[in-house]
Amino acid sequence: MVETIVFYTLSGLILGLGVAVITTPNTVHSVVFLVMNFLGVAVIYVVLEAEFLAVIQVLVYAGGIVVLYLFVVMLVNLTRESEAHQDPRRLSLFGLALAGVVLLELAGIVVYSYGREPPAPVAAAATSPVQGNVEQIGWLLYTDYLIPFEVASVLLLVAMVGAIVLAKRELS
């Protein structure tokens, strides 16, 4: 009961902040709303007893990525003048079409899943020999999902090397 109330309150808050992100004319304000939005999502993770995910959500998204957004938004002069030669309605129509596709997809999911039993929780979590949030995620990452995990880390390494190469271009 309490969880339901908390969930719907938070969801309303998160959706409201999301709307605020895209409707605020000031870009820095909308980045601040985005931070609050991510913090709200982190609280939802806590309610779902996924503390590790919640903390990582705050650390990576709210604390890391959005800081970069803020840097870019503050340092790049965001004026609308460069779009003067374009037809503004074309972008809006494109956005409307995209939004329509997403809406159809969501509706499809709702229709498909209506009246079905929710899927059983992932069995691996129950059979893993360790307790606790962090331990279970670590266990799964290094057993069942070892190859995706390693591929992701190689991808990050490549991105890092790429960034260094781009930044150091004048040396060659």
């Binding site: 820095v28 304000h29 931070v35 503390e51 590790f52 650390l59 709210a62 604390g63 803020l70 606790g132």
Partner: protein, 333 residues
């Protein structure tokens, strides 16, 4: 109801108030110690030995006029000090002041990660303060501060990985209990990590010798130049609260938290007579004093030196420390 609402609220009230009292005492300690280092007396006029200065200063700040510059972004200008203070105080919810469940607000199994992630939110207060002031020096200072914070955060976080490896847990209480089982404070097991975390902590709290964001000669005061009165005091409060956070984290991770020295030696068992929270506060005081002492002793770094130290010295040492810790943990123990 009493157990899940009232008692945690009481604990939160006690901890927040204790931190705020400590924050008002810190500037006095700082001025006194710096006075002694420079063969002066420090503040002497208000109360005996100037002790009432700690009460008079906050009153003065509360009574001062709180100015918002005309061209400032009013909403963010008000929000920025709040975003600086809240994370600094929120961190104390997972810091164990004693071994008994009475002496910490909560013990979550991701305690250390919680501290890292919540302190990373504090950077918004600094960036937004500089931007919202709509004034060039605060903006420059806030960019400096943010770059410094992010750089040293990487070094500190990587160093903490080796502590997590040693302890085998992320819970703050669990880390102290691991030190009890080992019989050694982790400061003796991980001396390199301790030095890295302490240096990184000084840099993250913008303390001398890393106080470039407040370099008065270059920036007319730092990211809070346009602030006055209580909103300025909130930044001040956040900074000292963060100092206490660093001292508390260092105490918990490396110097045994509430444990007496060498908890496994029987001959020293009489030290258990002193309650754990007194040990904790004593160690906390040592590290707070140490940071004041460093401020009175060292000159400020230049900006390129600061970045070189962070990226080319601290981060490689931190990575090497992780590798060495992992090798020792897996093959030698």
């Amino acid at each position: 109801m009493v157990d899940i609402v009232l008692i945690p609220l009481l604990k939160i009230a006690v901890v927040v108030n204790a931190v705020l009292v400590l924050v008002t005492i810190m500037p006095l300690l700082e001025r006194k110690v710096q006075g002694w280092v420079q063969s002066r007396l420090g503040p002497m006029r208000v109360g005996p030995w100037g002790l009432l200065q700690a009460i008079v200063d906050p009153i003065k700040l509360m009574l001062k006029e709180d100015i918002t510059p005309t061209k400032a972004d009013k909403w963010l200008f008000t929000l920025a000090p709040i975003m600086a203070v809240v994370p600094a105080l929120a961190v104390f919810s997972v810091i164990p002041f004693g071994g008994d469940g009475l002496f910490y607000i909560t013990d979550i199994n991701v305690g250390l990660l919680f501290i890292i992630s919540v302190t990373s939110i504090g950077v918004y207060g600094i960036i937004l303060a500089g931007w919202a002031s709509n004034s060039k020096y605060p903006l420059l200072a806030s960019l400096r501060a943010a770059a410094q914070l992010i750089s040293y955060e990487i070094a500190v976080t990587m160093t903490l990985v080796s502590v997590i490896l040693t302890a085998g847990t992320l819970s703050m209480v669990g880390i102290v209990e691991a030190q009890q089982e080992t019989g050694l404070w982790f400061g003796f097991v991980q001396p390199v990590a301790f030095v890295l975390v302490f240096i990184g902590g000084l840099a993250e709290t913008n303390r001398v010798p890393f106080d470039l964001p407040e370099a008065e000669q270059e920036l007319t005061g730092g990211f809070h130049t346009e602030y006055s009165g209580m909103r300025w005091a909130l930044f001040f409060l956040a900074e000292y609260a963060n100092m206490i956070v660093i001292a508390a984290v260092v105490t918990t991770l490396f110097w045994g938290g509430w444990l007496p020295p060498f908890p496994s030696v029987d001959a020293l068992a009489f030290l258990d007579l002193i309650p754990g929270w007194i040990w904790f506060l004593g160690k906390l005081g040592v590290f707070l004093y140490l940071s004041v002492w460093i401020r009175a002793t060292f000159p400020r770094y230049r900006y390129d030196q600061l970045m070189r130290l962070g990226w080319k010295v601290l981060i490689p040492i931190a990575i090497a420390n992780i590798v060495v810790t992992a090798v020792v943990k897996v093959w030698l123990l």
